[in-house]
Amino acid sequence: MSKDSEEDDDFGNSVLDEDTPQSEISQHLSKTERLNLRRSYRKLIEETQQNKEELIKPDNNGLMENIAKAQELFKKVKGPTEGALDSRFMSLAVSLGAQKTSLLQTDLVAFQPDEFIQKLVTFMEGNVTSDNPEDVFIPDRGWEMLGENTTQYFTSIVPALHPLAGVFEDVGQSRGPTPSKVRRFNEETNARTQLPQHLTNYRADQKEATPEEIERVLKIIRGFYASDPSPFDYFELVVNPQSFGHTIENIFHLAFLVKDGLVRVFLGENGIPVVEPVKDAEAQKSKKNLKEDDICNQVMVSLSMDEWEAIIDAYQLAGAEPSIPAGGARASRKKVK
């Protein structure tokens, strides 16, 4: 620096000598003035150099102030040495200005992940629960919401297939039937082949139901006879005005009773068939007779639907309760008729 100033001084002197021939005093004065001016410039440059870190900060106006100072100094500049110093300062100011500009720009676009995350938390309606930014609370719904909002940005995502009837559940890998499954399957098929057998049993059950029905009818007949011990009208007994089928059934059951010699059917005084239970002793006897005399107690009654209706009319049974109430489940079925 000292060498520089010497040169400057020599250079200045020589120029001064040639261009401005002035009086000794004025020369001396201007020399002091120029010396001061150079000193001011050097001070300004030095300061600017030293404070450049501060000066290039975006919000610092120091650089502008220094340039304004230089502008003031420049008004006094008369010689080239001072002009050169001014240039030196300006070139420094420009380079600092450039740095400042670039810093200013990076500052504007600088992406701070932490800041972004903070904004995301707010977006997802979450919040930081303490001073530590890692103590964050985000509702489960938050991520779903973020996804919903950002899906529109996935412009080229291929839409999912939407089966109208819904998708198959993921049932995992199928490993083919295991031995135990095969066995169970076989058992199941066996069970199924047994079904017809069940049906035969069922039919047998139905057959067995007939004696029970006969028993029931016998009880009813005996009941009637107990309350009024005289033969009673056959048709009044068997006809069910609500069901032709049940009427036929009653005739059928009664036929058994007659065959077994428990009930006697014979024509009454006015030629109408009547029914009368056989007393136990007589029954025994008749059974014996059956064997000894080979007498066949049989009663055959034929009844058509028309005749059934005619009897209902004749006996005025329409709407009356049947003498033998229909029994069990079958009754309700027949009653519908």
Binding site: V109, F116, W143, L146, E148, Y153, V158
Partner: protein, 233 residues
């Protein structure tokens, strides 16, 4: 046409043509549409194994028909990625669904939210982010590498395996680093599925800024990308 098809069929019995080719192509279309749900690229071997079976030699013929059908019927582009043995395909939508998106029900919204967050972090940080910085950021969202998350479960697996296999993320090991460090970048599917412009739009909205141009370097990056795309497209 039919006689021509027959003669070529006679010439090479394992080569498909005509109606058969059409039928197989339809099957492949069906197959890739369903496969795409997983978002994992479809390998040539997958198509051969599940659909073409004995007609592997016709692959190149079939795939041409498939690409055409996907484009014309579904508005979907069949994109080839990878090279050689790793060659695979993925589907890219070419239709604007901004208006229909309200009607469409998307699965896995939460996962997409997380994916979008990561992709944004990568892009905004200059197209790459180190795993340390990524997990640090995610931690502030309540996501920890080694802890199960209430929404995502095994987050580490989701990010390092699922997103990576779906080609949304490209994770590479940084050489000569101990302990190992990983660099996260956008995967190929991310480039296809999400325009960088959209990311900037989202971030700008989030920061309540007026213009996407405030993100100068990212904006320039985006413009460069769009230029490239125009040239290649």
């Amino acid at each position: 046409m039919s006689s021509q098809a027959q003669t070529s069929q006679n010439r090479a019995s394992d080569k498909l043509s005509g109606v058969e080719l059409e039928r197989k192509a339809n099957e492949v279309v069906h197959f890739v549409l369903i496969w795409e749900q997983k978002k994992i690229p479809i390998k040539r071997a997958d198509i051969n194994k599940h659909v073409l079976k004995d007609h592997k030699s016709s692959f190149s013929d079939v795939i041409k028909v498939v690409a055409k059908k996907l484009e014309k019927v579904f508005g979907i582009k069949l994109v080839e990625i990878g090279e050689g043995a790793k060659k695979a395909y993925m589907l890219v939508n070419t239709l604007d669904h901004s208006e229909t998106s309200d009607v469409m029900k998307w699965k896995d919204n939460s996962k997409r939210g997380l994916l979008f967050t990561i992709l944004t972090l990568i892009f905004m940080s200059g197209n790459s982010i180190m795993d340390g910085a990524l997990w640090h950021s995610l931690k502030r969202l309540g996501i920890e590498k080694d802890h199960s998350h209430s929404v995502f479960g095994d987050v580490k697996k989701l990010i390092t395996q699922e997103f990576s296999r779906q080609m949304y993320l490209d994770i590479s090991k940084v050489p000569n680093c101990d302990p190992p460090q990983y660099e996260y970048r956008w995967g190929q599917r991310a480039f296809h599925d999400i325009p960088k412009r959209k990311i900037l739009e989202f971030v700008t909205k989030l920061y309540d800024k007026s213009d996407i141009m405030v993100w100068k370097s990212q904006y320039q990056d985006m413009i460069a990308d769009e230029m490239n795309e125009q040239q290649s497209g």
